[in-house]
Assembly symmetry: C2
């Protein structure tokens, strides 16, 4: 087992060769990870949790160093908050490892095994993707989440966190490595990049021989750059410009509850509603009640002309508002003529993340579900439900707004692929 490289070793090392070394170690680990049984993977997860408990003091000290450096560098309060660890957050991290260990192992599951006229049986077996590179920003708990989900799904991973969390990530990494070793799994199974050199990212996304897929987690500009420059497939999450369309047949109380929840439950999440579409016949009845509810939450409304005919005090929405992902207590509101106009608006301005209809009309519900091309499409439910835990995936490494491989919340299954298995008894092709 090759030892992990520490910060100090790397100070003089060449980043290219270092990243190649990580890639080789990860690729080599895939063979053993493919054959690791569920018990071994769970043993590693539990051992990691134990080490994390024991290393509390060290991790909090490392985190304090990161925070001090961050404050000196003038990081803003929101970023410092994401970076900060405390006992409660460490408890949640330990608990997260136990939860992932408790999840069913998707690897080895065989679907649809069927007999064919030739006499063979054919099915599809879930297998790991291989090596996953994950690039993320300040939150150090992502190191643990990503490592545990990749390990449970039988993948090797190379994790590149933000430079501001350098010391925290290094301290957490030691626990991960110790857990792997305790369970007899290869060191290449989980590797935390031990350099803050930006060239490491460029190298990580351009090693198709060692890395099978990249999952970037972070701001839109980071993700766009990685997607542009990656030489391997990327599972990504871009914007969440989510809509709720309230149809004329909607139950007003449900509409009100959903529209308020979808906007105000949390402002900064990707599944928060950013534009409300109201069917014209309902505008006079619904909009004043909504405006009152939003005012109570301090939500600013920006409306189309027809909205402003009903709500006179509301500001004017421009083209930019229809594509805005506010992530703030601001909501764009548009009055539309029926489901066709609503779906046309969503198709033109939406980001294909999550869109909901509120309706009591069976046929319209069915059409909206079939025709709206988003990763989650809902009837009479808040867009805030678009989440791996709410969907029952047990965990979530992110939400994919891509079309290929996996759409929507990505859990363990999204980190696997399926190969064909053929069972025969000497059959040959005629």
């Amino acid at each position: 087992m090759t030892a992990h490289i520490s910060h100090s070793d790397l100070a003089t090392a060449d980043v290219d060769r270092y990243m190649q070394h990580l890639g080789q170690q990860a690729r080599e680990a895939t063979t053993r990870l493919r054959r690791a049984d569920t018990a071994a993977k769970n043993a590693a997860l539990h051992a990691m949790a134990e080490r994390l408990q024991q290393a509390r003091v060290d991790i909090l000290a490392a985190n304090a160093a990161d925070l001090a450096r961050g404050r000196d560098a003038g990081l803003d309060a929101a970023l410092l908050d994401r970076l900060a660890l405390d006992d409660a957050r460490l408890d949640a991290m330990v608990e997260g490892l136990a939860q992932v260990a408790a999840l069913p192992d998707p690897v080895g599951e065989i679907d649809g095994l069927r007999s064919r006229p030739s006499g063979i049986q054919v099915g599809q077996m879930r297998v790991p993707l291989g090596v996953i590179g994950i690039i993320y920003e300040s939150r150090p708990n992502v190191t643990l989440e990503a490592a545990s989900l990749c390990l449970k799904s039988g993948n090797a991973c190379i994790l590149r966190g933000g430079s501001e969390a350098r010391d925290s990530n290094a301290a957490i990494a030691e626990c991960l490595y110790a857990g792997l070793e305790a369970a007899g799994l290869p060191a290449g199974a989980v590797q935390v990049v031990a350099t803050t050199d930006r060239a490491a990212v460029g190298r990580l996304i351009a090693m198709p021989e060692y890395v099978d897929v990249i999952i970037p987690r972070g701001g839109k500009s980071l993700i766009e750059r990685i997607t542009r420059e990656a030489r391997v497939p990327v599972i990504k999450h871009l914007d969440g410009v989510c809509h709720v369309y309230v149809d004329a047949t909607a139950d007003l109380d449900k509409a009100l509850a959903i529209a308020v929840n979808a906007k105000t439950h949390r402002y900064g999440t990707c599944n928060t509603m950013e534009t409300l579409l109201v069917d014209a016949p309902l505008a006079e009845a619904l909009l004043p009640r909504l405006a009152e509810a939003y005012a109570a939450h301090g939500v600013e409304l920006r409306g189309c002309e027809r909205t402003r005919a009903v709500l006179e005090k509301v500001g004017e929405a421009s083209e930019a508002d229809w594509v805005a992902e506010y992530l703030a207590p601001i909501l764009a509101v548009r009055v539309v003529d029926g489901i066709e106009a609503a779906m046309a608006h969503i198709e033109r301005y939406g980001s294909g993340h999550t869109d909901a209809i509120v309706t009591e009309h069976y046929g319209l519900a069915r059409r909206f579900l079939a025709e709206v091309d988003s990763s989650s499409v809902m009837v009479n439910a808040s867009t805030r439900f678009a989440d791996g835990f709410e969907y029952g995936l047990g965990a979530e490494i992110g939400i994919s707004t891509d079309r290929l491989h996996v759409r929507g919340p990505v859990g363990l299954e999204g980190l696997t692929t399926r190969k064909y298995v053929v069972l025969g008894d000497g059959q040959v092709r005629r």
Copy 2:
């Protein structure tokens, strides 16, 4: 409905703008294709078949022109054969359309709809990928196959065939367009690129705003170039360096039948065995019988040292032979020590396409299935079964040697993706 552009219109047109026009038309068509019901798609397929019957004389005349041009250009006999159409091949194309029409429509299928503690129901609905670009070489029947599979799965497609099949493809395209029109589907649903300008390919693979995925079908160099330069995901098929490993417990008759079939059933296919691995204890009993059988088929053997100790007349295999995709009556043979050595050989030299074990040992069969990382893994069956029809997919647009999205034979399901659907009754997130 915008009319399709003919060769003559395009003679002076700007390729970039032309490809962008095709992309826009395709993207626009996706909205109507998403809502097209199975009956409408099948009606278009049947109408295409009817037009193809009526246009036989024109298509054969166009094909004759392609063939004459090909002969003048000095194309080799194999290429001319792939290019050639006759009544039997046209019959097969017409029949192929009927078969695709008869396949179940994957679009709209909902898997795993489950109730969650919050009261919502969550499931996953199959939906089209969007716009598929297909780049292929000389065989004009691919135009029809690709168009029918994309249409049935609700995708718009842009098809770019080989320049040597220009006139044949244009004649077939007219039938496709007429079929779409007869069924009231948009012209943008199927578009055959009407220029042989190579710049069209470069443009097609670099329009992420209009094209969701590229499927290249052709030689390895074409596919490698497209993968390198594409700015959208590619579902690709690279080499098929397939193995059969005969374990010491194998039934000799089954081993013989499978090894002979896997090599000699067809030489030029990607699922043909290229390397045979024989467990050492079996070498003396099996190799002479195999050598005799291969000699009867005119297959040249190239062996490792231990193979040559048993079969003295066999030539020596070099490193290059272990990675060779011969596509010819040549077979590399290696004697190995047990399943570990066999799997290590496959991992090092294989291409992850299709690999089989011949064994009567339950535990070894189970290990081989779980641990060999190929798109198809088989026990006691010929590698030649790795095929969409043999697997019961009903049709095949190719075989993916990629890991993400789809592995192995790609049928209608591989041309779709799944979005989440959420059914509620007014639920909000707590």
